[in-house]
């Protein structure tokens, strides 16, 4: 099986098949990443489309020494950042505070927490997932990106550092802070 880097080299040489294989490997990941970052499906798909277009447009600038996946996520993160900024210009961001209220001013409902023996493989109900997604959106973008790339996309701290252009120590700190904020926000539904 060809590596991502070999495939992208073939695409740069004019192979449509190589691009299609890369697309099949990554399009879901990019869409999920964009969804976790934006919290909205339509926006996530737009951002994912834009990401692949930018990847194709920038193919000439890619250095074969760089990992394709890291480069792809760098573009995906910058693209979603633009979408988030666009949204921010027209909307409002709510910070995570203990005992917070919903956007409509009503107290947050008490939801049944996830139940499973392994906390990482919990069966999250649709309601809890929604609640979690909303809490994730309220994290500062820099924390959210680090946490999503690591826990959602499976990138190592080093890879996250490369995507975000920060040090590994900064990644470690951001992921820890993201965890703390989410635990505060979701205290009533966590085990």
């Amino acid at each position: 099986m060809r590596t991502d880097e070999e495939l992208f080299e073939l695409y740069r040489g004019g192979s449509r098949d190589a691009f299609e294989i890369l697309f099949s490997r990554y399009h879901r990941k990019v869409i999920h990443f964009a969804y976790r970052m934006t919290g909205e499906q339509a926006r996530a798909e737009e951002a994912a489309q834009e990401t692949f277009l930018r990847v194709a447009r920038a193919a000439g600038t890619w250095q074969p020494t760089a990992r394709f996946s890291t480069w792809l996520y760098t573009i995906a993160r910058r693209t979603t950042l633009n979408y988030i900024r666009d949204e921010k210009d027209g909307g409002e961001k709510v910070s995570i505070l203990p005992g917070e209220e919903d956007k409509d001013g009503q107290p947050a409902p008490q939801l049944p927490g996830p139940k499973a023996l392994n906390p990482e493989e919990m069966a999250w109900s649709a309601e809890v997932r929604e609640r979690f997604a909303a809490a994730l959106q309220r994290l500062p973008e820099t924390y959210r990106a680090a946490f999503v790339l690591n826990r959602g996309e499976g990138l190592s701290y080093e890879e996250v550092a490369s995507v975000l252009g920060i040090t590994v120590q900064a990644v470690k700190s951001r992921i820890f802070r993201a965890r703390e904020m989410l635990m505060e926000s979701l205290a009533e539904i966590l085990p």
Binding site: Y35, P119, E121, M122, R129, F132, L136, I175
Partner: protein
Amino acid sequence: MKCLDWKEKISGYIDGEISPAEVREVEGHLEACESCRALERRMRAVGGGVASIETSVSTDFREKLFARLEAEELLPRRRSLFVFSLRWAALPLAAAAAFGLFLLVSPEKGRDAILPQGGLPRVAQQSPPSSASGIERPVATAAAVLSPEEREIVAHLEVLEDPAALEDQGDADTIEIFGTARGRRG
């Protein structure tokens, strides 16, 4: 070391991003500290929560993207199977067309080309049309000069077409040739 100081290390431990020596330290502490074990469970849960957030992909996502890529000429267009087949069939088609043209322009040569090797028997080629008998014969196509032997055959055609006359002459070869004609007539 207070529990508060273990928090960041536990976070790194969950992500598999601390050294083996630190792993031993963290595991030793977790074994002894109930509150840090609860913290670890919650930390793992929020990590699992991120992974659980997924969305569906629109059925036309790929189609839309590839159309945009092709419009910007960022992706080579896929040739249709029809065009592909036509390309490979072009040479045989051209050869067939040339052959057909050859047959149209040069009917004599064309006919020769589809006849058995050696062509029809000369007798059959040069026999005149028989309006009386109604026997279908190959049309003579050229006014070739007949050899004396051929002239003799033509002169006796009527006789040859009459089976009774053939019997009288005892020409075995000729009988065989026109035997078919006799059959058809019957």
